[in-house]
Each structure stands twice: as structure tokens, then as C-alpha cells.
């Protein structure tokens, strides 16, 4: 992320030249197919979902095929409770009942997935999260905005929790939770350990919730989700972001993201990809008005 800041700035500098991008067709043989685990458990009350799909060729359009015949269970290791996730409507889910929640702060969770390839397990700890105090938004004209796009530029305010290092994942949405806008990963509301404990989230992070190329319009709603993550998940998410935003003059070599969902039989060749994470989350939203 530190790198991203500088890269963004340097890229802008380079853009002064005539750098141009266009979409091209590339002919790549179809890769191997893996099962992809998309499991992120939160402390939000109600139903929790886990998705198992297949990896597909990169430029294939449409959703990836769903795997429907797996056996998925989640164990609250700390609370000594097991939740069975059952398949319906493309996802594996468990509903603890209205007002009830699966995720508890400080608890350790273990995911177990039984597949044709073998039995896989992963573990994560659900960490604490602060509240989002408020969201502000400034209207900027085309002339005023850095990006030259007119609209509302939003900023959220939150304060890191005092003591211990906290890792967070900030995701912003436009109007609803199906329309993702930006993702930001932060340590104590800053970019490094041991520099910002208990402080306000720094400006580049708090202002990062707007897509500068497509700011919010009047009447649109920004939703900010702040999730706690473990250090391991934070590193994974940063790697994901690196691979997703890997364009530009300083593009790195494409590197595969790791997985924490491992075969219980160490001698087996069976592998799955994806990640299991747990988060406590806070939400805040604001509708744009002049």
C-alpha cells in the first residue's frame, strides 16, 4: 500500500506522456481447474454464506460454475460449537436465527470442507473493530477535482482501537452491498505497525472510499464497511489487491495468491485455492446531498 501511494503519483507523472491502454485478445491455453473457497465469516447477526466455485479461464465471461456437492462445517473452537453449512441457491449457508450471530470477537474458527479432492481445513481468529464515527462528502466541480470528474468525494472518520496492532479491511459500496467501489487495507488506520496506535485513520485511507474516476452523484449513497482482519488475512488481501491492480509502468510480475485452506492429508496432491477469513464489522452510510 505504501507502494501504491507512490506508484499512483508516479503513474500520474508518466501519464503526462502519451501512455495508453487498450484491450487485447490473447490466446492462452486453458489452465488447470481448481476448487476456489470464498469463505468470510463475520459477527453480523443472521445467515452467513460460503461460496465454492471452480477456477475458470481469465477472460471467460459470466459466473464461475458452483460446486454443490461438498460438505461444509464451521467450528467455533473457542466456544466449542459447530455449525453445518448447507447448499442452497448457489451458496453454502447457516442461519443461527434472527438476532443471533455466528461470529464472536476473540473466538477462533475452523472451516472444514469435504470435497472429491480431499478434506480441507483452515483456521482464523475474529478480531475487534472500532465504529465508524461519521462520513463527510465534498462536492467538487470538474475544475476542482484532481480527476477532472464532477461529483461528491466522500471521507469516513474512525479511530483505531488503543493497544495491540489492529489490521482492517475497508470496503466502500455505491447504493447497495452488491456494488463494490473501493477496497483499502490498513494497519491501525495507517500503513505500518507501531506508528498509529489509537489515532484517527489517516487521510489517504479515509479519503480512499471514493472512486476518483467516478465520484458519487447527488442522491447516491455511499456505504462503508470496516472489517477487522488477522495479520495473515491482511497480507493475503494486500496480495489480492496487488494482483487485481497490477497495471501501469511499474507492474510487477503476476504472482499467484496463496491459500490457507489446506489438505488435511499432507501427502495428498489434492489442492484447493481461496481463503478463509473472519471479521467483526461496522457499517456506516451517507446519501449525497448538496
Amino acid at each position: 500500500m505504501k507502494r501504491n501511494l507512490t506508484t499512483i503519483a508516479l503513474l500520474l507523472a508518466a501519464a503526462g506522456f502519451t501512455a495508453c491502454e487498450d484491450t487485447i485478445d490473447i490466446d492462452i491455453p486453458k489452465g488447470k481447474t481448481y476448487t476456489v473457497v470464498d469463505a468470510w465469516i463475520t459477527d453480523v447477526p443472521g445467515k452467513q454464506d460460503i461460496r465454492l466455485t471452480q477456477s475458470v479461464p481469465y477472460t471467460s465471461q459470466g459466473a464461475a460454475p458452483v460446486i454443490s456437492d461438498a460438505k461444509v462445517t464451521l467450528t467455533d473452537v473457542t466456544g466449542n460449537k459447530t455449525f453445518a453449512f448447507t447448499f442452497a441457491n448457489g451458496v453454502y449457508s447457516h442461519d443461527p436465527g434472527a438476532g443471533q450471530k455466528i461470529g464472536e470477537i476473540g473466538h477462533v474458527y475452523k472451516l472444514r470442507i469435504e470435497l472429491k479432492e480431499g478434506v480441507f481445513e483452515a483456521q482464523d481468529t475474529l478480531k475487534r473493530v472500532p465504529v465508524i464515527d461519521s462520513i463527510a462528502a465534498d462536492f467538487k466541480t470538474k475544475e476542482e477535482a484532481v480527476s477532472g470528474e464532477e461529483g461528491f468525494f466522500a471521507r469516513f472518520y474512525a479511530k483505531d482501537l488503543v493497544g495491540a496492532t489492529d489490521w482492517y479491511w475497508v470496503r466502500s459500496y455505491r447504493n447497495n452491498l452488491q456494488t463494490r467501489v473501493e477496497d483499502i487495507f490498513t494497519i491501525d488506520g495507517s500503513y505500518a505497525e507501531d506508528v498509529a496506535d489509537g489515532k484517527d485513520f489517516i487521510q489517504p485511507i479515509s479519503e480512499g472510499i471514493t472512486d476518483y474516476g467516478k465520484p458519487f452523484l447527488e442522491g447516491e449513497k455511499v456505504i462503508v464497511r470496516l472489517s477487522s482482519v488477522t495479520k495473515r488475512s491482511h497480507a493475503f488481501l494486500e496480495q489480492v489487491q496487488q494482483q487485481i491492480d497490477n497495471g501501469g509502468l511499474f507492474a510487477k510480475i503476476l504472482e499467484n495468491v496463496p491459500t490457507n485452506v489446506l489438505n488435511t492429508d499432507k501427502n495428498s496432491q489434492g489442492r484447493v485455492l481461496g481463503w478463509f477469513g473472519t471479521s467483526a464489522v461496522s457499517y456506516k452510510e451517507k446519501t449525497m446531498q448538496k
Partner: protein
Amino acid sequence: MLPVPCIRPHYKLKTNMKSTARLLTSLLLILIATASSAQQRFTISGYVKDENSGETLIGISIGKPGTSTGTVSNEYGFYSLTLPAGKHDIQFSYIGYQPQKFTIDLTANKRLDIKLGKSDRQLNEVVISGKQQEKNINTLNTSMNKLDIAEIRKLPTFMGEVDVIRTIQTLPGVNTVGEGAASFNVRGGNGDENLILMDEAPVYNSTHMLGFFSVFNPDAVKNINLIKGGFPAEYGGRTASVLDIRMKDGNNQKFAMTGGIGNIFSRLAVEGPLQKDKSSFIIAGRRSYMDVLMKPFLKGDMKDTKLYFYDLTAKVNFQLNKNNSLFVSGYFGRDVFGFGKEANMNWGNNTASLRWNHIFNNRLFMNLTTYYTKYDYSLKFLSNEKSTTSQEFSWTSNIINYGVKPSFTYYLNSNNTLHFGAQGTYYTFKPGNTLSRQDADETRIVLKDKNALEGALYLDHEWKAGNKFGVQYGVRLSGFQYRGKGTAYYYADTTAGIRKRFIGTKDYENGKTIADYYFLEPRLSARYAINSTSSVKAAFSRSAQYMHQLSNTASPTPVDIWTPVSNNVKPQLTDQVTAGYFYNAPGDKFELSAEVFYKKMQDQLDFIDNADLDLNEFIEGDLLASKGRAYGLELYVKKDIGATTGWISYTLSRSERKTPGLSLNEWFINRYDRTHNLNIVASHEFTKRASMSANWMFASGTPATFADSRLEFQDWDIPYNTTEKRNNYRLKPFHRLDLSFTYKGKQLKRWKGEWVFSLYNVYARRNAYTVYFRQNPDDPSKKEAVRLSIIGSIIPGITYNFKF
């Protein structure tokens, strides 16, 4: 090839040393025998200078016409030639200069300082005849390209600007990962393996504007020399190439001003005598003004955009007396980029060198260089003034070298020359200091400083055994001490390719050795003249490198730091063999060369997947050691004289590496590999006032790692390469045509002006720099492969150059 593991360098050193010492002793005995058995001999020596400017001339041939007896003036314009007593015809000649012929009756040692006058074009064709000692068929060195600034100026320019680094990229064996790459690659070597010297001081970042312009101001450059293999023992510390750039001394005859006004930047150089014939100065500066030109079009938050670079080169020299000269040179360059107060960054090199030339006697020449060089960058982010809390984040880093290099040349006789000397460099590294501040509350992260000492002793002997055979052999003993005050980090051995587990640290006191390495680097090149127009040459060289640049992008960024070898990082060792055939057409109508090379590299650096290179105290846990190999064929034809001049270079090569933990532990092709690389450079003088030049290059696309799959995860589509092989595809071939047209105005006695019109990328080719994979920003359900071209259109340029 000689395998040299550096795990036990001391042991290897001993065995190496014994055999090398034996070889050296026997050769020296022969040498002394030849020198002493000779009849009575006398020496003529002196400096060769330009008649009009007083600039010393490098690489002038001094010899007896029609024979191979002769020598070449050195980097300081000094020559020494020992001949039997008696009458000799001696000719001083150089391309573009009127040759001078003397008949000398040698009865004693003689000092002969010569001034050569420039010849005009028509004369050129007649002038170049007879033996030229500096011609490629006659020199002992292989794999060397010399260019003087007049040749560089003939090339088509990028936005009207003459550029040193762009010029060398047209030579065989040199390529880049693409337009805008901040480094170049020589014979399959990495970008950090080039030793770039400006008046003998190393330069860490050779480009401005992220790779578009080189940091060397052409108005101040005299001469460049690129060595790609068969390195003389004098050079070391980098393994792929030496780019030796010499700056002008300044006109010691009269004041002169040169400059240019272009659409990207303007240049001005002032030079003149401080005391006629004795001392002179030159000051040359440049500044780009893209930001100034952009300003009227910028509004709002963009109004305060800063985007420019500048550099200043200054040099003074004093000829103290016949035998002593002093040179002081300095360089200061900076790239600046920012938005108002909120985001600011800048980076650049500073160098200073002081050199003393001393002539002990007519056969022993010394140059003593002391230098200082620094590369640093600074990034600063401030919160908006309107913001309720005041926040700041800043990050600085630098590397500083202090060096001393006494070097001696002993001209024993016309067939034997000895070069020997020592080199010492003290390094300090500040890998990263950051400050985070919120209101009055400050936190700092300071990566620990690193210190190191590098030293070398070298000796080599140039020996012309008769007219046919010549050899230059030598040895360089180099050593590196990674020393306190500092901290050593220790890691547990783990599976290759994953982050090494940190065990602990140990602090070392000032001067204490944390790790040290020594290598004996043998160097050898030999020439055999087949006849008066052709020769064959072969060379072997071993070189060690004790510094690495940490960069995992296609081309280094200004914030990629340099790091010394340590208890965890081994020096890189490269062995290279090269052989070539050289031909000079009768009458020097053109010259031709064909060379092959094979290189074996040990302990090149690589990185684990998802390595964290920024401000990471435990960076060494993310580093991997690779084996590398590169081989290729280089063809080169060059025509220096006539109305049409230029060269064609073609390289067929391969560069690979094998890194445990990457790409299934198999050999993979380097990111900078290009199978074919063709450059055609031509310029034609229509009249004395109008000329045109063209450059066409074609190169195979660079390899890239492509995603064959995507993983759906949390509303993202993550690109994934299930083959797990690095650089599994190649980008489309790169090709580009550039043209430029120069029209000289009336060449008045006082004022000489010329217009340069240039077209870069004439047929607007979109050469891919990278291909990456993304979800369409407007429609995230669409996944696409995107080609990034740094230059996607034709770029015109106009520059007006003047001289008075």
C-alpha cells in the same frame, strides 16, 4: 566455465591465486626480457588536444603509418610511445580531424604536445587512411563500443533531445524491457549490473522522468565507452557492463556558449578559459518545463502540479605545470513531482570528483580520483489544509559512496603497457526513514543504517607480440566488508520460495566485520590479426558484484533501494567468455564485427512471490538466490565516413535464470530477454546545412507472466496462473521508426544555429510495455487483458540549438 561457489571464498581464492601468480610471473619474465634486450630506445609522450577548444582528445591514434606500431591516447588525452633511436614518421589521426604527420629524429626522450584541427566533411573521406590504432581490428579489447558526442548527435532524437542512454540502446548486446524503462540490460544481465561512471564517479540512477531522458547533459559529454565483456582489470564491482562517460573539460581558448530550446526542456552550457591554455571551466544546465506549459490548462486541485527535472554539470580544470593537472567535476540532478503541498516527491544523483593527473616521467602516468556520489529520494504527504487534523507522512532514503582510485599506466615500450592501481569505496546506506505525524504526535520508522567497505587491487599487462598477436591479461583482487555499525539479521532455513523465518539479530560495533567476501577475478583478452583488414579476438573475464538493487517491477522505480551483500545475501559472480571476428574494409569504408558470448551468473537476486520490498526490516527473508546464464551472437556494421553514416546492429540472444522456489524450480526466461534485436541507424548529409537521420528498431517481445485463470473471491476476480511458470508468454514484437531532420542556419562567425525537427514512433506503433488482467472498470463482470503502451502515438519534437 569455472564454477566458484562463494560459500568458501577464502579457500577458492587460495587455489586461484597460486595458478594466477604462476602465470603472471612467467609472463612478466618474458616482458622484462623483451624490454631489456631491446636496442636503445627513446620515448615521445604528451597530450593531444583539440586546436580550437583545447579539449583533450581521447582515443587518438598515434603511430607509424603502414605499420602496427603505435598507441592510442588515454582518457586524459595522454600518450606515450617508445621507439628505437632514429628517424620515424609519426602520424596523429582521428575521425573528423585533420591528421598531422611528423618526421622525428629520436635521439632523446621527447615531449610532444599536439593540437589537432577539425576537418570538414569533404576532407573526411581522404583523411581516414593508413593505420588507425583505435580501430576495432587493432585494439586488444573485445565487446567494446566507443562513441564520441558527434556520433551521438547524429541519431534521431526523442522530442528533439540528444540522449546518451538511448544511443547505447542501439548497440548490439544492449536492450531494455521497453520504452520508458529506467535501466538497460547488457548481454542478458540485470539492470543493476551496469557500472555507470560519470567522470569516474558511479551514478546510481541514470535517467530522468522515469526513463525517458538520461541524466547526462549532451552539451557536457565528450565521449562514452561501453564495455560489455572482456573487462580490463581496472573495472569491477558490476558484472554486466561498464558505461564510462567522460565530460568535457571546457574550452580553454575562448568563451563559448551552447544551448537548445526544445518543447520538453532547454539547455545552456557556458565554457571558457580561466587562464588561456592552462585552465578552463564548463557549466551546463537543463530544466524541463512540462509543468510550466501545463499550468494554464490545470484547474482546481491540479493547479499546483509540479512535474519537472533539472540537472547541473560543472567542471573546472587546471594545468598546474607540464606534469600535473587537476580536474574538479560535479553533477547535481533532480526529478520533482508533486501536487501542491499535499504530495511531493523528488529524487536524484549528486556526484563530485577530484582528479589529479601526474606524469612521473615520459612513460609513467598516474590518475588519482577521489569521488563522492549520492542517490537519494524523498516522499512527503501532508493532509489538506482544510482538514480538521493535521497529518503528515514522509519517507527518505539514500546511498552515499566515498571513493579513491589511484591508477597508473606504465608505457614500457611500444609493445608493452602495464596498468595497475587500487580502488577503495566506503558505502553508507540509509534504506528508509519514515515519519508519521498526527497533529503533534509523531512516530518514526527507521530502518537500520548499513555500512560497507569495498576494495580492489589490479594489475594488467597489454602486450603486443609482433604485428599479429596481442594479449591483455590481468587480475583483479576484490574484497567487500559488510561492517558495523550495523545489525545482522538471522533467518532459519526453510523451504525455498517462502518467507524465511526470522530468528534474531546481533548488533555490531563500528568497524566490526559482519560478513566479508574476497574474489580473485582473472581477466584475459587476446587478438590475432589475420591480415591488415581482419582480426579475431577472444576474452574471458570474471567479475564480482557486491551490491544489488531491490526491484521486482519490470524496470526499476526511483524508490527501489540498493543493498549490499551481507551474512544472508551473497555476492554475484559472473564468468563470461567471448570471441569475435573483426573486419575493416580497405580504405576504412566500413567496419564489421561478429561476436559470440556465453555468460554464467551465480547468486543473482530474486524475490519470493508477494515479497514486501518497501520499508521492510526483514527484507532479507524475502530474497532468493538464482543461477543465471546468457548467450548470444552480435553482429555490427558501422560506416563512419562519407555523406551517409550509421550502423546496423543485430543481436540473437537468450537470458535465463533458475531460482529454487520459483517457477517450479525450472529454468525460466528473464523478463528482459529479447530473442532478436535489430537496430538500423543511418544519417545522411544532403548539403552542408541539411541532414536527416533515421533509426528503426525491431525486437522480439519481452516475456511476461499471463493469467490463464481467475478465482472468484469476495466480488473480485483474481488472476491466477495455474501453470505456475514465470514468463510463460511473450508480448508482441517491438518495432519503431524515428526520423529527424536538421537544418543549420547561416553559420556566422559568432552565431551558429540549427533547427532539429524530430518524429518519434513515426508510424504510431503501440508497443506493449506490459499486459495485465483486470475487471472492466465500467462493467466489473467483464474480464479483460489490457495492453499498456508507454508511447502510443507519433511524437513530434522541435529544438533550436545554438552556439556562439
